[in-house]
């Protein structure tokens, strides 16, 4: 599949944003901050706003993929059958608890609202990422996507992105508890999941022209003439080969930048606490870059069933 920048930016940025909101929802639900306890630490407001920016930019970027972006509102109507529609509904609905929490944190909304909004934010953020993953996981035509590790992958990478964003903010805020162990743990879990995913997609049987045309029972099928001399929409959109050629090195980059470097930086921060803010900032940039490469590969490596007719 052709890796479109708008979709990669959408899934990575909004995934990270919802991951961040999910974590904040947990923090605010478990602690008694802002109600009868101590006032909310400054990082909570910053983090909620950063989540808002990430989610907003991600969703706006997804509009860039549409042929008719002005009609995007129509996508909210078919939630009964379409995961894309469900994603849109969940994505927008999650803004309600998020805005309530931002309001409560800045004193514009009653503190009691936060008590309800925090658990709703957890549910909304999770539901949105779950629906995003299902947009791809529900496509049986793309074998690399319709397999069981895709949904847990989107959820885990969203959580990981959120954690990477939270780490420098928590470290910079006075009295914040540090997140090195959590970052290292989630990074290792994400890397393991990704390696298992790659192993799974590498061992999927290919669909060939014989199966696609139903002619396999008559013998070995070889395309001797294409229907058209130049690329068409199908080949342009679904016949992307570059990534599979360079899969090895790009997977290495994903693992190195995305997961190994943040783990090393987390360990360094544990050994040398004075460097922890620098470590957290480096881990965030390296980790997000890795997630972008990971998502580029997720699209670019996936092979669509229609390519079988063209024997590509």
């Amino acid at each position: 599949m052709r890796p479109t920048f708008s979709i990669i930016a959408f899934t990575v940025l909004s995934g990270t944003g919802y991951g961040l909101w999910f974590l904040l929802g947990i923090v605010l639900t478990l602690s008694r901050m802002g109600r009868d306890g101590p006032p909310w630490p400054s990082f909570v407001v910053t983090a909620l706003l950063l989540g808002l920016v990430l989610v907003g930019v991600g969703l706006l970027s997804s509009l860039g993929h549409l042929g008719k972006p002005a009609r995007a509102w129509r996508a909210l109507s078919q939630w009964r059958s379409s995961w894309l529609s469900r994603e849109g509904v969940a994505a927008i609905a999650t803004f309600v608890p998020a805005m309530l929490l931002i309001g409560a944190a800045s004193g514009a909304a009653p503190a009691a609202a936060a008590r309800v909004a925090a658990p709703v934010l957890i549910a909304g953020a999770f539901a949105t990422v779950y629906c995003t993953a299902h947009i791809y996981a529900s496509l049986a035509t793309i074998r690399a996507w319709s397999q069981p590790l895709v949904v847990p992958g989107y959820a885990l990478f969203g959580l990981y992105g959120g954690l990477l964003c939270l780490w420098p903010m928590v470290d910079a805020s006075p009295g914040g508890r540090s997140l090195e162990t959590a970052v290292a743990g989630v990074a290792i879990a994400s890397a393991l999941l990704k390696v298992r995913y790659w192993h799974a997609i590498d061992h999927q049987p290919p669909v060939d022209a014989g199966d696609a045309t139903g002619l396999a029972r008559f013998g070995g099928v070889r395309s001797f003439e294409q229907p058209h001399t130049e690329e068409n929409y199908l080949l342009h959109e679904m016949g992307f080969v570059l990534a599979r050629k360079h899969a090895r090195s790009l997977r290495g980059i994903t693992l190195g930048f995305g997961f190994a470097a943040p783990v090393a930086l987390a360990l360094l921060a544990l050994v040398l606490p004075s460097l922890r803010i620098a470590c957290a900032a480096c881990a965030l940039s390296s980790g997000l870059a890795g997630l972008f490469v990971e998502r580029w590969l997720f699209f670019a490596e996936a092979k669509h069933a229609v390519t079988a007719y063209y024997q590509r």
């Binding site: 599949m1 993929h65 549409l66 042929g67 008719k68 972006p69 009609r71 995007a72 129509r74 996508a75 909210l76 109507s77 078919q78 009964r80 059958s81 379409s82 995961w83 894309l84 529609s85 849109g88 947009i135 529900s138 496509l139 049986a140 035509t141 793309i142 022209a209 199966d211 696609a212 045309t213 139903g214 002619l215 008559f218 013998g219 070995g220 099928v221 070889r222 395309s223 001797f224 003439e225 294409q226 229907p227 058209h228 130049e230 690329e231 068409n232 929409y233 199908l234 342009h236 959109e237 679904m238 669509h304 069933a305 229609v306 007719y309 063209y310």
Partner: protein, 252 residues
């Protein structure tokens, strides 16, 4: 509504005969011609006379060589394979649509796109394993085979012309149009007689269109060889000297 209608009794579709298709692309051209000016057109072309022409076509005709083992060796069967929308009974291209633009008609099962509702997310094209949908870059919306819905019910046309353009154009009558939901219709009988099959049934989208397999070939090559093989008896001793010498030279 992108939820599917209850199973339709009428299942309009095409039956394509892979035995008689000669791969002339007349169906594709006639389709392009009709739909470019029809209700669902235009079907745009980008750079049509340039180095990289690219345009929307509802029919694409592939040509395959099918290698078959025969007694003495192998032979290749040429099969031309027109590919278009199969108007599935449970199409994923309809259910994935977030806007309701992609829909299946309850009255005859035709799968259509409402270009006024389409947002151009292209998810339907991703959901189709048959490559039936092509994106109109100029308009920013998706297009697909309409089964010439603006011909088949068109009362301004002669009754004989109320057929999809591809069916009308086929010079070898390799394309047949009719109701595959009616077991007594000519197309259903043809499918039963020739063991017509559905493409990639493993996806469970239940295509309506059927393909008639190529008929078994008579083993012409092998016959010719066995007939040519026996050598005629020739008593060289009876030949005149010059011919005997010629026979010796040629037999080397």
């Amino acid at each position: 509504m992108t939820t599917l209608p209850p199973p339709t009794a009428k299942k309009l579709g095409l039956v394509i005969d892979l035995d008689t298709c000669v791969g002339c692309h007349a169906c594709a051209v006639a389709c392009k011609e009709w739909n470019d000016g029809g209700e669902f057109g235009p079907l745009p072309d980008a750079d049509p006379y340039g180095a990289q022409p690219n345009g929307v076509w509802f029919n694409r005709v592939h040509s395959y060589a099918v290698e078959q083992a025969t007694g003495p060796g192998t032979r290749e069967l040429t099969v031309h394979f027109p590919r278009s929308c199969l108007h599935c009974e449970t199409p994923a291209c309809v259910t994935v649509c977030p806007t309701g633009a992609s829909y299946k008609r309850a009255e005859d099962g035709i799968v259509l796109v409402d270009a006024d509702k389409c947002i151009g997310c292209q998810l339907c094209a991703w959901a189709c394993p048959y490559g039936a949908r092509e994106f109109n870059m100029e308009r920013g919306t998706m297009q697909k085979c309409t089964l010439c819905v603006d011909r088949i019910y068109n009362e301004t046309l002669d009754e004989a012309d109320r057929q999809p353009a591809c069916v009308m154009a086929c010079p070898t009558r390799a394309r047949h149009f009719g109701d595959l939901g009616d077991a007594q219709s000519p197309v259903s009988k043809l499918v039963a007689e020739r063991e017509g099959y559905a493409l990639m049934p493993e996806y469970d989208y239940k295509p309506v269109n059927r393909y008639l397999p190529p008929r078994p070939r008579r083993d012409g090559c092998a016959d010719a060889k066995t007939k040519a093989a026996p050598t005629e008896a020739l008593d060289t001793a009876q030949l005149p000297g010059v011919l005997r010498w010629l026979d010796r030279v040629l037999s080397r």
